[in-house]
Amino acid sequence: MEIVKNFGLNPVLLIAQIVNFLIILFILKKFLYKPVLDILKKRQTIIKEGLKQAEEARIKLEKVVAEEKDTLRQAQLQSRKIIEDAKEESIEITRRMNEETKKQTEKLLNDAREQIARESTGAEKRLALSTSKLAVTFLEKALKDFFSSKEQTEVLSQALKKIKKVK
């Protein structure tokens, strides 16, 4: 007790101080620590949520990037395939067109040959006919006074005989 006295401690004051301290602690706890802690807790939750969302977003982004790459790869493959198909189709169309052109050319040539042959035959026929007509005209003129009266009479006799037979 001596020591306490020498030390300068006043028990009543000490108790009062303790009570004050407790009151202040209660007040602080009631009106300051709890809201602050609540705010801190909320903030921690928000931060956690943000971190979680950021992580999810990163994963999503990675996924999207991977999908994009995949899509690009697919598109490239598809475009290559389309180009290849188009090339093959163009080659096929060219081949068909060439064949068709060849056929048409052959047909035209054959038609032309046939027409030439027909026209040649027609021209030959016309020429032969003209020549024959010319020959006949020539003969008619040349033979007009060629036959003697005796020959004429002989032919007339034969004609009479033939008419007799027909009658």
Partner: protein, 116 residues
């Protein structure tokens, strides 16, 4: 006037194988214009049937044999040098062709039809 009467008039116009000019003139003066037309057409037809046309490049005595061959026909001889040789005989619708010119025509026709 109907066809029968016209035919009777035409028959009456003939004396034997020959047409009587006097009768024809008399009939022609008695009938109407329309009947006259029919009568003339009928006469032409009968004359055509009774006639025989003989065309030949020359006219000689050999042609007289046609008169023996067609005794009831009125024979008309025509000189046609374009026939060259032989004779063409036209008996109404029948044509007998024995001419060199016809042979030439046949040759030409044959060439025209069979040339290939």
């Amino acid at each position: 006037m109907n066809r029968k009467k016209i035919d009777k008039l035409i028959a009456a116009s003939y004396e034997g194988d020959y047409l009587n000019q006097k009768i024809v003139i008399k009939i022609a003066s008695l009938i109407s214009r329309a009947d006259l037309k029919k009568y003339i057409n009928g006469l032409k037809l009968v004359e055509k049937k009774r006639s025989l046309i003989v065309s030949s490049p020359i006219i000689n005595s050999e042609l007289r044999k046609f008169e023996e061959l067609f005794p009831h026909k009125k024979i008309v001889f025509k000189k046609d040098p374009s026939l060259i040789l032989g004779a063409r005989v036209v008996d109404n619708d029948i044509v007998y062709e024995f001419t060199l010119q016809n042979s030439f025509d046949k040759i030409l026709s044959y060439i025209e039809q069979n040339y290939d």
